[in-house]
């Protein structure tokens, strides 16, 4: 990249310099032309002024007075035919066919600029000419003097730019080496104090990235560890029951053990399902597909789904009737949330009790409350509800401790809140509140 920068920079400099030189060339040339032309004209005037003297016998050439003299010539013509006076290097024929004004002619293969003028008596024509090569030479020298430095300046510039770039890139190079030298799993933040001001923002952002990656990896590790741990007991139960079945001497004993094996497998499958659900919900960038859902209708369907397990314990699940309550939510996630709430309520409710579902709606939010008549949760413990695998009475029920974690996670994805309260007659009421519309600006 450094090379590219250098090439671009030097190329630009050379191009601009050359363009400037070219511009100067044309500008200078123009000005020079004017100056020389003026000079020619003036010389002619001077000569004409001198024409007052008698020129009859003069037939000489003027002395070379200047280094450029060889390139300048003049002719004095009488009546347009007789050459009365001329410079040493002037040809014998008329330099220009014109009697007045400027002309560009070629004489002996060289380019000449010739000015012709008449004297007041109109007897004489003065022609003053100049080899254009003179002008070319001057301008050429000027331009060359402008471009020569480029030859030396460019390499010098190249060196200076190279060093400058190297110094600017140095902090980046240091940072790069630091990052490259790390082991793949090293996510310790970079030392920010050592980084110079230019790369400090980059280093800070890298650190933030490391932090996010570390958190993500940590979550995954914890999850895997939790899952493995949580599955040990169901698996231990299955294995032990199978051994009991194998060693059973009575049919009843064997049957009971084998049924326990099946129950244990079902439970393990349930744990795995909940774990998978939670794992799918965990990633930060989980995409929630919101659409308009009727909370009442979805709730009614979920209540119908849970009828089977409720009936097994003779529990009645009731839902208060009401108008449709529309919210913006991901319907399948909403179903999972409600299923888990109802599942918990039925699990923790004693036989022949009632689970009540109620939906309330206001302009700015809509909530659903699921209340059971189970043992309830002491106020102190309510904070821990929803912590993964936390169960209040692990042995008394067959829950997995993951249901409320799932409920909380889905609520969070919808910017909804979850609240736990005690039912006055005993039991737990879980309230999930969804925001309905953007809050009004204050």
């Amino acid at each position: 990249m450094r090379r590219r920068l250098l090439v671009v920079l030097l190329g630009l400099v050379a191009a601009i310099w050359t363009a400037a030189a070219l511009f100067s060339y044309f500008d200078a040339r123009h000005e020079l032309d004017e100056m020389f032309d003026a000079h020619l004209a003036q010389s002619a005037s001077l000569l004409i002024a001198q024409a007052g003297h008698d020129l009859d016998e003069i037939d000489e050439h003027a002395a070379d007075l200047h280094r450029y003299a060889r390139r300048v010539a003049f002719q004095f013509w009488e009546d347009g035919r007789v050459l009365r006076l001329h410079s040493a290097n002037a040809p014998s024929t008329r330099m220009s066919s014109q009697d007045e004004g400027f002309a560009d002619v070629r004489i002996d293969g060289a380019g000449w600029r010739v000015f012709s003028g008449r004297d007041p008596s109109r007897r004489y024509v003065v022609q003053v000419g100049e080899r254009t090569s003179a002008r070319d030479a001057i301008v050429g020298t000027m331009i060359r003097n402008m471009l020569w430095p480029l030859l030396f300046a460019l390499p010098l510039l190249a060196i200076v730019v190279w060093i400058a770039i190297a110094r600017v890139m140095h902090p980046l190079g240091l940072l790069n080496r630091q990052v490259v030298a790390r082991a793949p799993d090293n996510l310790v933040p970079l030392a920010l104090d050592a980084a110079p001001a230019e790369v400090a923002p980059l280093a800070a952002n890298l650190n933030r990235l490391f932090e996010r990656v570390r958190t993500s990896i940590e979550n995954e590790r914890r999850f895997t560890a939790d899952a493995a741990h949580e599955l040990r007991t169901p698996l231990a139960a299955i294995r032990a029951q199978a051994q009991v079945a194998r060693g059973a001497t009575a049919d009843a004993e064997r049957t009971h053990a084998l049924e326990s094996v099946i129950a244990g497998c079902d439970r393990a499958v349930h744990v795995v399902d909940q774990l998978l659900t939670l794992a799918r919900l965990e990633p930060e960038g989980f995409a929630v597909r919101r659409a308009r859902c009727d909370l009442q209708m979805v709730a009614r369907e979920c209540v119908a789904d849970i009828a089977a397990s409720a009936n097994a314990k003779a529990i009645t699940v009731t839902q208060a009737d009401g108008p449709p309550v529309v919210i913006d939510a991901d319907e399948r996630l909403l179903r999972t949330l409600l299923r888990n709430l109802l599942d918990n309520a039925v699990r923790y409710s004693p036989d022949r009790s009632e689970v009540r579902v109620r939906i309330t709606a206001r302009d700015e939010d809509a909530s659903i409350v699921v209340a059971d008549r189970g043992p309830g949760v002491p106020a102190a413990e309510r904070d821990r509800l929803g912590q993964r695998f936390h169960r209040l009475q692990p042995g008394a029920t067959t829950g997995t401790g993951l249901g409320l974690s799932i409920v909380k996670r889905i609520a969070a994805l919808h910017d909804a809140t979850v609240a736990f309260d005690a039912v006055p007659e005993g039991g737990l009421a879980v309230t999930v509140s969804f925001r309905r519309a953007a809050p009004m600006a204050q």
Binding site: A236, I238, Q241
Partner: protein, 226 residues
Amino acid sequence: MRILVVEDDPLLGDALQAGLRQRGFDVDWVRDGVAAEGALRAETFAGVVLDLGLPRLDGLTLLRRERARGARVPMLVLTARDATEDRVSGLDSGADDYVVKPVDLDELAARLRALVRRSTGEPAPVLTLGTLKLDPAARTVTLGARPIELQAREFNLLHELMRNAGRVLTRRELEQRLYAWGEEIESNALEVHVHHLRRKLAPALIRTVRGVGYVIPRDADDLERP
């Protein structure tokens, strides 16, 4: 031998109880730490199988409390926590063994037997007295070369007496060690079992100490006496 199983998971607890019973133990099963504490104070157990994740009083705390009050009953921790620091913490809190779930029932039974042996100072797994040999693992009894057929309760009684050879065990102690809760103990069941053992093995084997209990002597010589 009477074992207390402390496990809150219904399926696993049930399996442990049934499985250890199949292997000759008498098993009492409680589901939380408070019940376990109560049981340990009220009864005598040969060993305890203790889960750590218990409601109301967790396993480690129970372990420490029991050891602090001087309980010497062998306790085997059976848990899902497998990290090294958990193992160290469990053993240092007073566990005699630390096993991670899932566990093979035969292995669990063997470990329990080993713990019980160690607790009573028996060097050898097989108990011998003269020509009488009792193998707790195989649950066999031989007198000389002849195998003796014993009922489960008789075997357990003989085992208990031989384990404590030379020491008089009271009726109450024997009943505690041999009967789990909820089992009906007929009023003279113990006498009946002792009678059967004398008949099947040797009349002089079990000595009655009037008003106190029963004892099996340490030395074989005493056996020969009429």
